[in-house]
């Protein structure tokens, strides 16, 4: 009896899945529409377009946000989601595929106006934008929001771009400098209620990307509760907090003071009446609930688990509800050049040639986990140019002869010994370390594998200069994703020698004055095409120097439950766009 009931349930589930998505009834902003459930129906086009409002969008997260405070968050999915309850000066357009890389004005009337030297940027706020309590947004609120985000003792999670680029003259934020007029904060001027002027310490041609950061979402000084502000952020977006149970769940409901007429450029749809987000949910259960249609979105955007991925891809009835999202993320192995003999470029090149690149890809799940990377910048970054100096594509299992030749030039014809570090909790990185060990062994490079806890990997272990040198961590398995899809967003933290610090490093191997000079040149180049060419030049230099062993350009498999409408992958965040989703009731 029970077996029959289970079989009936399974059959019902399958038959429901086979019904497919309903037809849409509205327009989309994308480069195409599609209401037929099929594999990758949400890639580069809108799946199930609709303008129908109502219902509850159910989201879940296997962990927690770093913070819901716009001035204190650094997670990609958080930047994607936060646009539902905040509006920054500028944002990425909500549109499928490459169109999502376009920056459009949000709180501001237009993109920033730069001075000729790219050191002064001016924005003007739109008229009529209000907080959830009905009070109008003023330029001084944006100034205050940026000012509070500078204090990394208090709001510890966000990026430090404003600290790095604004001409602060020692100003440390309103929690330390308690003058309510902020007269010591001269890096931002607000001559009237709608104008805001940023003064930079050095040129930054891509400042609109900083104006996109959630930290530019306005915060009225009188409503700031410091570290507690995350418990109820004052909304300027289409939704506001109805409830927030820390580490458990929160619910967003409509903000009646959000006026879509003030939001003509971003592509926000604001379809559901309510958005619920469950936190710290078991990832296996999230995958099951997505497939059962009980949950709409896994908010982390990291895709389903490896075992779920295999099940989905083998079952056509499941596969048609999934999308592969290319990521602006590279899985790589970096050299510590202070560990001998990696101070010699030929020994680094020997590793480049000896590596089994297919093995590297297999460690990340094969073709569903990405593709073999030949250079540093992922293809999603504008200006990407394919560079394959070491013939990874034509010799995917490595080139033993060339590796041995490089070893001779390095003065180590019989090979050498070194250590490979990886993050202990990451199965793919362990598999990577193992495949490297096997392929390097073929040319006489003997390696020992060293696992370290991921939470402290950068700060205490492999990213700590003293620890790495002392423990002779010649090779470090790791990964890096762009803060935003732009050469600076991807490259600055991993190739600029001036970002190297005692601990917490991603880069401590690239110390090339030419590369630093190219980075500076790009920052002062206002012409987009010319600037993108410079990013490619930097990539070329990095590969010529054999500073990094590129591994895999990452992909994720996202599941798109049947009742979701307006679904598409935004390249800006490499996951579904969270401001356009709707649900069938």
């Amino acid at each position: 009896m029970r077996v029959t009931a289970i079989a009936a349930g399974v059959a019902l589930a399958i038959s429901l899945s086979a019904c497919g998505g309903s037809s849409g009834d509205g327009d989309s902003d994308g480069g195409g529409e599609n209401s037929t459930p099929e594999f990758n129906a949400g890639v580069n086009k809108v799946y199930n377009p609709s303008d129908t409002k109502g219902g509850t969008l159910k989201m879940a997260n296997d962990a927690d946000f770093d913070s819901l405070d716009p001035g204190d968050t650094y997670y990609g999915y958080s930047w994607n989601f936060i646009r539902n309850y905040t509006r920054s000066l500028v944002t990425f357009k909500s549109a499928p595929g490459e169109k999502s890389n376009e920056l459009v004005p949000d709180l501001a009337e237009s993109l920033g106006e730069a001075s000729p030297d790219a050191k002064t940027w001016t924005y003007k706020l739109r008229e009529g934008i209000k907080y959830e309590d009905g009070t109008p947004v003023k330029s001084e609120d944006v100034k205050y929001a940026v000012a509070r985000s500078l204090d990394k003792d208090i709001l510890v999670n966000g990026p430090t771009y404003f600290n790095d680029f604004l001409d602060l003259k020692g100003y440390a934020g309103p929690y330390k400098d308690k003058d309510p007029t902020m007269k010591n904060f001269k890096a931002i001027e607000t001559p009237d209620d709608r104008t805001i002027i940023f003064h930079l310490i050095k040129p930054f041609s891509g400042f609109d990307y900083l104006a996109m950061l959630p930290a530019t979402a306005p915060v009225p000084a009188a409503k700031d509760t410091g570290t507690k502000y995350k418990e109820h952020v004052l909304s300027t977006g289409p939704y506001m907090f109805a409830s927030n149970e820390l580490e458990k769940r929160f619910t967003l409901t409509r903000n009646k003071y959000y006026d879509p007429k003030t939001d003509p450029d971003t592509g926000r749809k604001a379809l559901p009446d309510e958005i619920t987000v469950d936190l710290n949910v078991n990832q296996e259960d999230i995958d099951q609930r997505l497939q059962a249609g009980d949950l709409d979105v896994a908010i982390s955007g990291l895709g389903v688990l490896a075992e779920t991925r295999a099940t989905i891809l083998q079952d056509p009835d499941q596969k048609k509800f999934s999308d592969t999202a290319d990521q602006a993320r590279l899985w790589f192995t970096s050299f510590d050049n202070s560990v001998k003999p990696f101070d010699n470029i030929h020994c680094r090149k020997a590793v480049m040639y000896a590596t089994d690149h297919e093995g590297y890809l297999r460690a990340y799940g094969g073709s569903s986990g990405g593709k073999i990377a030949t250079n540093l910048m992922p293809p999603l970054i504008p200006g990407y140019k394919k560079i394959d100096l070491y013939e990874f594509e034509s010799k995917p299992n490595g080139d033993i002869d060339k590796a041995k030749d490089e070893l001779k030039q390095c003065g180590q014809p019989d090979g050498f010994t070194t250590n490979i570090s990886y993050r202990a909790e990451r199965a793919a990185e362990k598999a990577t370390a193992e495949t490297l060990q096997q392929s390097l062994d073929k040319v006489g490079i003997k390696t020992e594998l060293k696992a370290y806890p991921q939470d402290d990997y950068g700060k205490i272990y492999a990213g700590n200069v003293a620890f790495s040198t002392k423990n002779q961590l010649g090779l470090r398995v790791y990964g890096w994703g762009a803060d935003w899809n732009d050469g600076f967003g991807f490259l600055s933290q991993i190739v600029d020698s001036r970002v190297i610090r005692p601990a917490g490093n991603t880069n401590f191997n690239v110390k090339d004055p030419e590369i630093d000079a190219l980075l500076d040149k790009a920052l002062s180049t206002l012409d987009t095409k010319e600037r993108e060419g410079l990013w490619a030049d930097i990539d070329q230099k990095v590969m010529e120097g054999a500073y990094y062993l590129p591994g895999v350009d990452a992909k994720q498999l996202l599941y798109r439950p049947e009742r979701l409408t307006n679904v598409f992958i935004t390249n800006a965040y490499n996951m579904y766009d969270y401001t356009t989703l709707g649900v069938q009731k």
Partner: protein, 337 residues
């Protein structure tokens, strides 16, 4: 009896202080012995972009640079008299008994634990009833019908129950009953958010059964072994010779005697569960103390880890105290001694 209880309570309080001291040493001193500095400890409380100076300032603000005895002294003082914590933008008062303050989530630990306790209590109490009734009844019947099909079948299932991990049986149960048959609510349903007792029970029935399956299996095997041994005793033969009904012999004499070791284990198990049913709460995404412990460990949030450990110790000590008192009820020999 009252003197005995008071003596046990004093011992329990002393034991709790020993537990806090040991946990404190494990989480705050052992990492130092392993080469980590105060700044390394503080690095978990600063952002990933923090420089060494900023990290050192955080270490000083959090008190990690102070000698261990001072840090422990502050913790104990907080337990007894409460404490104030400077968040940088305000001073938060944590009233006694203050189990610490999380600088990651910016709130005191005890209110968090008390907020989550009803979920854990709901889970542990329901599961305990199920496993105690199911396990003991199965064990008794198996012992009485030794070698029968029932005995072999029950012990086979018990073996499976002991062997199968909760993250397997739990996910399987969710897959079948929640997502395919739709008989029960999905994972992550908070029992305390339900409108009526029926929905509350429905949201917990799968976690109860899954958890009880594991424990019932152990209890069935223990009860069976105890009953087999007891039923061979002379006093059982005497009871039968006196002409007592078999039902009385089994329940009043056999089971009562075999229950004593079961009760001991039950106290420990229940106390342990009240301190957080980690696997069950994680598998079913229940926002109880067990899930809190996992989050605290994952984030290396030491005050929370300390708080969870302490509350777990409180429950284990209390449960053992109650069990000791119950001995006197179950076993008259304890009373007389």
């Amino acid at each position: 009896m009252i003197v005995y209880i008071i003596r046990r309570l004093i011992a329990a309080v002393l034991l709790l202080f020993v537990v806090t001291a040991v946990v404190f040493v494990i989480f705050f001193e052992v990492p130092r012995l392993g080469g980590q500095t105060a700044d390394d400890l503080a690095s978990r409380y600063v952002g990933k972009t923090a420089g060494p100076e900023q990290t050192h300032l955080a270490a000083e603000r959090l008190g990690f640079t102070d000698p261990l005895y001072e840090q422990y002294g502050r913790f104990v003082k907080g337990l007894v008299a409460g404490a104030d914590y400077d968040t940088g933008t305000s001073v938060e008062h944590c009233p006694a008994p203050c189990l610490g303050y999380s600088f990651k989530t910016q709130n005191a630990v005890l209110p968090d634990l008390l907020d989550r306790l009803p979920v854990t209590l709901s889970l542990a109490a329901g599961a305990a009833v199920l496993w105690l009734l199911g396990g003991v009844a199965t064990g008794v019947l198996s012992a009485l019908k030794r070698g029968s099909v029932f005995d072999r079948g029950a012990m086979g299932i018990a073996l499976a129950g002991v062997s199968l991990p909760i993250f397997f049986t739990g996910l399987l149960a969710l897959s079948i009953f929640s997502y395919n048959l739709k008989w029960t609510p999905p994972g992550g349903t908070n029992p305390l958010d339900q409108d009526n007792p029926w929905d509350w029970a429905a949201s917990l029935i799968l976690p109860w059964i899954t958890l009880a399956f594991l424990y019932a299996a152990q209890y069935a095997r223990l009860t069976r072994a105890g009953m087999l041994e007891t039923m061979q005793e002379d006093f059982i033969r005497t009871a039968r010779a006196k002409g007592l009904r078999e039902r009385s012999v089994v329940i009043k004499h056999g089971l009562r005697s075999a229950l004593t070791p079961i009760l001991t284990i039950f106290g420990l198990d229940l106390g342990l569960l009240l301190g957080g049913a980690i696997l069950t709460e994680t598998t079913f995404s229940l926002p109880g103390i067990g899930q809190y412990a996992v989050i605290a460990l994952r984030n290396q949030d030491l005050p929370k880890v300390l708080g969870v450990t302490l509350i777990g110790a409180v429950f284990i000590i209390l449960a053992n105290l109650i069990v000791d008192l119950l001995y006197a009820v179950v076993d008259p020999r304890v009373r007389t001694s």
